[in-house]
């Protein structure tokens, strides 16, 4: 006859199981923490139910864990929700940064001459060389990416009842929005670089520095977000 398992050991068994689940969850840290807290409570309930029936602690812990399933299966069950949360955050963040960064660039090219100009941006006094081609393309990319971002946010929120999106599609769409943001930022930074070389006197330097810093920051974050979206999508598939 084996000695009863101490309570601390039973808890350690459950925590070890949760650690294995945690290692396989991919998504926002806060949501992962909430999932683990919820699983821990459920496991303790399942354990308590068996202990109350007189089941030996080691067997009760094993049975409670067995009831929840093996860690890869449990983590896979949450993958869709975690991917949706990741996609929603990325799309929302990028959609939110669009207008302020756009305004910073507008100020960079119009700042020295005042923000109000008649005519399209490529006719502004400080417009960079090649702006007549770049700006319409950027506007088209921003419009498509903005629509995609709003669709991702809607389909991963309460509106998901009416606007469902496949679990694998949301992170892909969010990654596409991030790629579009990176394209816009790289284009604007490229235009700025050419402007610095060809017509440095036309720039409002403080506004240009602020716009460049904002775009560089978003470029970095969008690159990281793209990677997170791809990882989330892989976890769902």
């Amino acid at each position: 006859m084996t000695a009863p398992m101490p309570q601390a050991t039973v808890h350690a068994t459950i925590e070890s199981y949760l650690t294995e689940v945690a290692a396989r969850l991919v998504g926002p840290a806060r949501m992962r923490g909430a999932i683990l807290a919820e699983l821990r409570d459920g496991l303790m309930e399942a354990l308590g139910t068996r202990l109350a029936r007189g089941v030996e602690p080691a067997h009760a812990a094993a049975a409670a864990i067995g009831e929840f399933g093996d860690p890869p299966s449990v983590a896979r069950g949450f993958a869709s929700e975690l991917a949706a949360a990741t996609a929603r955050r990325v799309a929302f963040a990028l959609a939110s940064t669009g207008p302020p960064i756009g305004l910073l660039w507008a100020a960079a090219y119009a700042g020295r001459f005042g923000l109000v100009h008649v005519g399209p941006p490529w006719r502004w006094p400080a417009a960079p060389t090649g702006a007549w081609l770049a700006f319409p393309l950027i506007c088209a990319v921003v419009a498509i990416a903005g629509l995609a971002a709003l669709t991702v946010v809607a389909s991963t929120s309460r509106l998901s009842r009416w606007l469902p999106m496949r679990p694998t599609l949301a992170p892909v769409a969010a990654a596409a929005v991030a790629a579009a943001a990176m394209t816009v930022d790289l284009t604007m930074l490229g235009l700025l670089a050419s402007q610095v070389v060809t017509r440095p006197g036309s720039l409002a330097w403080s506004s240009a520095a602020a716009a460049a810093t904002a775009s560089l920051t978003r470029l970095t974050l969008a690159g990281w977000a793209t990677s997170r979206c791809q990882t989330s999508r892989a976890a769902v598939a």
């Binding site: 909430a34 999932i35 807290a37 919820e38 699983l39 821990r40 409570d41 459920g42 303790m44 309930e45 399942a46 139910t49 009831e67 929840f68 399933g69 299966s73 449990v74 069950g77 949450f78 869709s80 929700e81 949706a84 991963t156 929120s157 309460r158 998901s160 009842r161």
Partner: protein, 113 residues
């Protein structure tokens, strides 16, 4: 478990129904489904929690945290939208089940030797 597989497509309405009489936490919902079906629907626990998260994201249920026995517990309750969804799905189910029952006829008699 075969019954659990057959529940695919009906899980959402069963989870909503389990919350009809008040808030419950995830494990209590699982147990309510098991005991309410006389043990036929003993769903894998790993299925219940993600489904609850999906229903919450859709605004059909709302979750809130509390502390019980020193650990965090998330309990869920129906929202107004969830209650409407439950009512609608319940009506649809009764009409569907009634039509199927009418076509299948009465239960077969138990064979006696």
């Amino acid at each position: 478990m075969e019954d659990a597989q057959g529940l695919k497509g009906h899980l959402d309405v069963l989870l909503l129904a389990a919350l009809e009489n008040g808030p419950r936490h995830g494990y209590a919902i699982k147990e309510a489904l098991r005991t309410g079906s006389n043990g036929r629907f003993d769903l894998p626990t790993g299925t219940i929690y993600p489904a609850l998260h999906r229903l919450e994201r859709a605004g059909l249920i709302s979750g809130s945290w509390s502390v019980v026995d020193g650990r965090r517990r998330r309990s869920y309750q129906l929202t107004a939208g969830g209650r409407r969804k439950l009512d609608g799905d319940r009506t649809d189910w009764h009409q569907f089940a009634g039509a199927i029952s009418a076509l299948l006829g009465p239960s077969p008699r138990v064979a006696t030797s």
